[in-house]
């Protein structure tokens, strides 16, 4: 009987203790797995959001896109950028606050994103806006708009419906003009905030809705490179030193240095705590198990079992408990992550499409690595007990006992 078979029989001998150990590891392992998913979840999710649509460089006036500072003469800047050899297209994006009149009740508050594309490449001109059409088609004319699912369901609007919108491109303009717009599609907006509504259309549509108060400014210019994004960003910074051009990876890097770092730190602390709990739990269980079997172990040693063999038996028992518990921890962890993700996404200002817990093969590999380390570290003390067990003295003590 090999060490694993022997360890299995030892576990089955004490089913309640084995079950306790396995369930303990499953629970702690699930938490550990979640912490690993959380440690990079926001980064991976944000990178995924930024990469959607194929825009790989973001041009803004502030350190990070969405800082509130606007790019002056944005269309002219986008045109200049689009002439760079490494640029396929540049998309100007301007946001406005808006109210959509409803037949009954309060007007629906929403944001209106107006976009226009500039490209010296015919293929670039066909690049779609940074939202995904779910039904209908994209807005192309100044009197067309796409809406999100929330507006569609709450206001019972579908492609073909008409809405009356009052948009404000400047906070100080209070008398909002009414504009009649035709809904041509329902879209998913990647950075839409939970519980907020978003509409989208052309920049001309936004200007019209704002009653000509939009000016020449824009919040953001999205750029698609034909080659390396880093060199494109560098070329834009050379062309227009007054703006900030960052690749998606650089944007994520900046976010990591600011807000995201808290989640990483929390996850590191909780990972350490959960691993420590797992080590302590298994160490205690194995130590109790070994101490109850000292006579048997001494007898096996007297019968010729080597020191290495009895050590392997303990290590195998640890590996079995952690292995089975670890397997259970994966579905349990994913289930827990899904619930926690829903809770965290309820925080204000979090984009709907952003996730705190994201599955990655790397996280799974680290999880497995940590569990293997847990099995080994937890077995160290009981392994020491059996490896240094004085055979004769133990046999004597067992008889006296």
């Amino acid at each position: 009987m090999n060490a694993i078979g022997f360890a299995w029989r030892s576990m089955v001998r004490q089913p309640a203790r084995a079950a306790l150990g396995i369930l303990g590891v499953a629970a702690v392992g699930a938490l550990l797995f979640d912490m690993l998913l959380l440690s990079r979840g926001l980064i991976v999710s944000m990178q995924d959001l930024l990469d959607r649509g194929g825009w790989d460089v973001r041009v803004s006036m502030g350190e990070l896109p969405g800082s509130g500072l606007r790019i002056p003469d944005a269309v002219e800047t986008a045109e200049a950028i689009s002439t760079l050899p490494s640029v396929q297209a540049a998309l100007v994006m301007r946001s406005a606050t808006a109210q959509i009149d409803r037949a009954s009740g309060e007007p629906l508050r929403a944001s209106f994103q107006g976009v226009t594309t500039r490209s010296s490449d015919p293929a670039g001109s066909r690049l779609r806006a940074p939202w995904t059409i779910l039904r209908g088609r994209d807005a192309e004319a100044p009197d067309e708009v796409v809406i999100d699912e929330k507006i569609a369901s709450e206001s019972r609007l579908e492609p073909g419906s008409e809405i009356t919108m009052r948009a404000s491109c400047n906070a100080d303009v209070e008398a909002l003009p009414a504009t009649r717009l035709k809904v041509v599609g329902v879209a998913e907006f990647p950075f839409q905030i939970t519980n907020e509504s978003t509409t989208g259309g052309t920049l001309d549509a936004l200007r019209a809705a704002c009653g000509g108060n939009a000016g020449t400014e824009a919040d953001l210019i999205l750029v698609t490179s034909t080659s390396d994004a880093d060199s494109t960003a560098a070329a834009i910074r050379t062309l227009r030193p007054e703006v900030r051009a960052a690749t998606n990876t650089e944007v994520v890097g900046r976010l990591q240095q600011t807000g995201f770092t808290y989640f990483r730190q929390i996850s590191s602390v909780l990972t350490t705590v959960t691993v420590s709990f797992a080590v302590l739990l298994i160490t205690v269980l194995l130590t109790v198990s070994v101490n109850q079997r000292l006579g048997e172990i001494a007898a096996l040693r007297a019968l010729g079992f080597s020191r290495m063999r009895v050590v392997k038996d303990v290590l195998s028992e640890s590996a079995l408990i952690v292995g089975i518990g670890g397997l259970l921890s994966l579905p349990l962890g994913l289930l827990l992550a899904s619930g926690l993700d829903r809770i965290l996404k309820g925080m204000p200002g979090i984009p709907v499409a952003l996730h705190f817990f994201v599955f990655e093969t790397q996280a799974l590999a680290v999880h497995i690595g940590l569990l293997v380390a847990t099995a080994i570290i937890a077995a160290l003390y009981p392994m020491r007990i059996v490896s240094t067990l004085p055979i004769a003295a133990t046999l004597r003590d067992e008889v006296i006992g």
Binding site: R9, E296, R301, A302, S306, M308, L395, E398, V399
Partner: protein
């Protein structure tokens, strides 16, 4: 008379001539908080193939310590202990384990059968550790259980066996790798008189098959079956009676 089944066949050959253990002036001193305690003092003992030795004496006289030294689980503090001509003190822990596995069998007062294994699996254990192929060790385990009269109980766990049956399984386990020396520490200590007599008869049969046998016992009837009876007192062999 039925012989102990050999590793390859169910019948073993007769005893071979030669010394199994040669202990010269061995002593064992334990360091205790109150000062050193000499458990075994200057014992010289030769055990040859087929010897049947009983060690008697009052409690605490060093019988079990001597047995453990002969079984290479307790190192001597001084003196020389040769097993089959090899100086045991020069062997690494791994080599001593191998020596015990292949050449020495132990029978304990408390049996120490593994409760989660069946009788057959308990007997198979030392063979498994020695690397005997599964089929061969299963066959030999059944042969040994037949030898001790427990073939019908092969698939029973220790909790389903009586004390005498457990000790018989323990003897079968001790014989698994066909040892040259069988050491028994109070093998009838936990058994009633009738069951003890059955175990004594079984040990006689093992010895008559050629395995050297050393029994530590308080049981005079068990000791009287031995060819040599050593009386110990204060860690020393006080007398030796040869039958």
């Amino acid at each position: 008379m039925k012989s102990v089944p050999g590793p390859q066949s169910s019948v073993s050959g007769g005893p071979t001539e030669g010394s199994v253990v040669d202990a010269q002036n061995v002593s064992r001193v334990f360091s205790m908080p109150a000062g050193p305690v000499t458990a075994v003092r200057d014992v010289t003992l030769h055990i040859r193939n087929g010897d049947h030795i009983a060690v008697r004496g009052p409690s605490g006289c060093g019988k079990s310590t001597l047995l453990h030294m002969l079984g290479c689980v307790e190192p001597q503090t001084s003196g020389t202990l040769l097993f089959d001509g090899q100086d045991v003190s020069q062997l690494s822990d791994a080599r001593r384990s191998l020596l015990r596995l292949k050449q020495i069998g132990f029978v304990f007062q408390r049996f120490f059968l593994l409760p989660m294994l069946t009788a057959r699996e308990n007997v198979e254990l030392p063979m498994s550790e020695a690397g005997v192929a599964k089929h061969a060790r299963q066959k030999r385990a059944i042969e040994l259980l037949e030898y001790v009269g427990l073939a019908a109980r092969a698939d029973h766990r220790p909790s389903q066996l009586s004390g005498g049956e457990m000790q018989r399984v323990a003897i079968a386990r001790a014989l698994a790798n066909n040892p040259r020396l069988l050491l028994a520490d109070e093998p009838t200590g936990e058994l009633d008189e009738a069951t003890g007599a059955q175990i004594a008869a079984l040990l006689d049969r093992v010895n008559q098959s050629g395995t050297a046998l050393v029994i530590v016992t308080h049981d005079a009837a068990l000791a009287d079956r031995a060819g040599r009876v050593l009386m110990m007192r204060d860690g020393q062999i006080e007398s030796e009676r040869v039958r």
